[in-house]
Amino acid sequence: MLVLRFLLRNVFRHKLRTFLTITGIMIAILSFGLLRTVISAWYAGVEASSSSRLVTRNSISIIFYLPLSYKEKIRQVDGVKQISYGNWFGGIYIDEKNFIPNFIVEPKTYLDLYPEFVLTPEERAAFLRERKACIAGRKVAAKYGWKVGDTITLRGTIFPGNWELVLRGIYSGKFKTTDESQLLFRWDYVNESLRKNYPLRADNVGFYVIGVTHPDLASSVAVAIDQNFRNSIAETITETEKAFQMGFVSMSDAIIMAIQLVSFVVIVIILVVVANTMAMTVRERMAEYAIFKTLGFQRWRIAALIFGESLMLTLLGCAAGIALTYPVSKAFGAAMGTFFPVFNVARETIYMDIASGLVVGILAALIPAWRTVNISIAEALRKTG
């Protein structure tokens, strides 16, 4: 207890310096936490995807389609329980700045395959009934102030024209990781118009989503599907939804790497600041430590005092930083809205915060402690700042 009081007294001996250092640590921990959360938000799509769902797409790349006729052929493969299909629509709502992920899907099977999109039975029935119906996630509906019954017009980039939709449901996510920012509407609505205006482009599907009877079967089903279409006009690639999402994320891994790197740089910067504070503190108190030594205190006790002070300093800042991480990331998540549909502070992030606080505390005290322990009493007494 006495030691703790001693440490506290020491920490607050230089109020201004302590305040500055703690503020520095707080900011560093806060930004570290935020950067980590940005990275995990990047992987949110991967987290939310299920490994018992498969995605089949054209093997050339995602911009090429598969014929609708593949649906029945895929259904015949052993282990396939349920199949749905859709396209990336890529429509623009009013302005390009309003990025809303929007897909056209076969409504009934898609909702069956994605039980995490929770709709009331009436909303679901309306979506299945009405050709122009669409459903939107809770977040995106809140952002643009949409209410059930509103008309939403999308400007097609891939499918030319203006597309009028009626909002028939607002879904909420079953899990914390579910993406609540999507806009889904009906594949047959678009296809019907394509048949009329661009007959060559009709009856094409961007991706098939397949539910398998048992997750263990996923890889063998995937192989069987691809085997089916080998050497056909449209060869396929089938992979688990997780791997499919991962493919997207890994395309921008340079950016993720950079953010990761930068999140460590901020820790190094704060390490340098704390080390500086400790170096100064210890230098000023060299004479005191010399007196301790004369009184017969062992080396490890003196070292422990320095380490303890440094740790107390960093952990105070760390606690303040963690406390701030939650409200700030909430505000940031709300501001970035549609860029990061899921923006939650992971528990691992907090553990990493604490770990980096400890590491900084120990490393910062290393050189000063080593100096103090090894200096001779006479020399230490002679030092004055």
């Binding site: 201004l16 310096r17 500055l20 250092t21 503020t23 520095g24 900011i27 560093a28 806060l30 930004s31 093997s59 050339i60 790349s61 995602i62 911009i63 090429f64 890529g90 623009i92 390009e96 400007r155 097609g156 980039t157 891939i158 030319p160 060559l200 050497n231 006009i233 060869e235 690639i237 493919g247 890994s250 395309m251 921008s252 891994d253 340079a254 950016i255 950079a258 953010i259 930068v262 740089v265 901020v266 190094v268 910067i269 704060i270 340098v272 600041v273 080390a275 500086n276 504070t277 170096a279 100064m280 000023e284 050189i367 700042g385």
Partner: protein
């Protein structure tokens, strides 16, 4: 009476460890600051050089990019007849009808697939882009499954080198040449015969039409005519604008990320400088008292400490910039969110960025040192002398 400059920098030398830590902190911040500016500059340079001002891109209305666009042959022929198009080979219009699609190709080493642009070209494509030069091998023969690859593709993708083969759309394609396009985005593309690629991909439409203007000022006229033609559903943009629009989101993302990081980091470094300078003032209270009693003005004391802080910043800035300069050897390749295709660009250091970084470092030193310097200057002589 002014204090000599040496007073300021020798003070830094006496406290080496502290000086080292403080400058290191600043150096890291300047490094990040410079790196972000260099990245943004690299992206901008790549885009600016990719397009040329007198070239015009025609794509389908509202399709945003060549990949999403589709122009039917019939429509392409109408565009071809516009009088504002410069004449090229044999008096024919200096225009290229191109096909642009994305394909998955595995990278060398990691074997991970990434999306790559394949551009179906015609005879004018190369000439329309003077920055593109064939550096190895030869051009593909029309009607044969031969392709040429950009340097970035040849280096980073499996089967991209001369003599190697790539397999896509049920065919093997032989790479017969490598082209270098300087700093431009074409380096991450593969080029082949447009008509053959249309067959192979079963996409019977062009993606875009590129032509050179006879006269730069004719742009407005041709834009109005094409966009109001009822037979066409096309959009006309200058090539420079087209490429800038393509990576607007990317540029914005880099800018926001960069600015927020720099602000946060610089707070850390400023705090570091402040701690150092406050300590430096506190340790020298008696010394400051002596200087004042010798007749040095408050102003000179203020100046001496501010200069000391500026030195800290300058050293940090130089170290940071020195290391940032090495970043120029790196190329960043990432996916452009807007087009989903590979985009490779280099960190680019310009004199402007170097100056900005140094100014930023000095600014951090100034902000960190000002308050402590004011405290030093406002000290009461008698009280200062009394402390030992």
């Amino acid at each position: 009476m002014k204090l000599p400059l040496a007073y300021s920098y020798r003070n830094l030398l006496t406290r080496r460890l502290t000086t080292l830590f403080t400058t290191l902190g600043m150096a890291l911040v300047v490094f990040v600051f410079a790196a972000i500016l260099m990245l943004a500059e690299g992206l901008k340079k790549t885009l600016v050089e990719t397009g040329s001002y007198d070239n015009v891109v025609v794509i389908r209305k509202a399709s945003n990019s060549e990949v999403q666009s589709g122009i039917e042959r019939q429509q392409a022929s109408i565009v071809e007849t516009q009088p504002e198009i410069a004449s090229g080979l044999n008096g024919r219009p200096f225009l290229a009808k191109e096909l642009v699609v994305l394909i998955n190709l595995p990278k060398r080493g990691s074997n991970r697939p990434s999306l790559v642009v394949i551009r179906g070209i015609d005879e004018n494509s190369m000439a329309l882009r003077p920055q593109v030069q064939l550096i190895e091998g030869r051009m593909p023969r029309a009607g044969s499954s031969e392709i040429i690859a950009g340097t970035s593709i040849a280096k980073r993708f499996r089967g991209g080198g001369v003599g190697e083969q790539l397999r896509f759309s049920m065919r093997d394609w032989t790479v017969v040449g490598i082209f270098d396009a300087g700093n431009t985005g074409y380096n991450s593309e593969i080029w082949g015969d447009a008509d053959l690629l249309m067959q192979a991909f079963r996409r019977p439409v062009y993606s875009s039409i590129i032509f050179k203007l006879r006269e730069s000022s004719a742009f407005e006229a041709v834009k109005t005519r094409i966009e109001s033609d009822p037979r066409l559903t096309c959009e006309v943009r200058r090539e420079t604008k087209y490429y800038a629009d393509q990576s607007e989101m990317m540029a914005k993302f880099l800018r926001i990320l960069g600015m927020s990081l720099t602000v946060i980091f610089s707070i850390g470094a400023i705090i570091g400088a402040m701690i150092t300078m406050y300590a430096s003032v506190a340790n020298r209270t008696a010394e400051i008292g002596t200087l004042r009693s010798l007749g040095f003005h408050r102003r000179s004391i203020l100046a001496a400490f501010v200069i000391e802080a500026l030195f800290l910043g300058l050293i940090g800035g130089c170290i940071g910039l020195f290391f940032a300069a090495f970043l120029q050897f790196f190329t960043v390749s990432t996916v452009n969110f807007q087009t989903f295709s590979e985009l490779a660009f280099r960190f680019t250091l310009t004199a402007g960025i170097a100056l900005q970084s140094l100014a930023f470092a000095l600014g951090m030193g100034l902000v960190g040192g000002l308050l402590p310097a004011i405290r030093a200057a406002r000290m009461n002589i008698v009280e200062a002398l009394r402390t030992s």
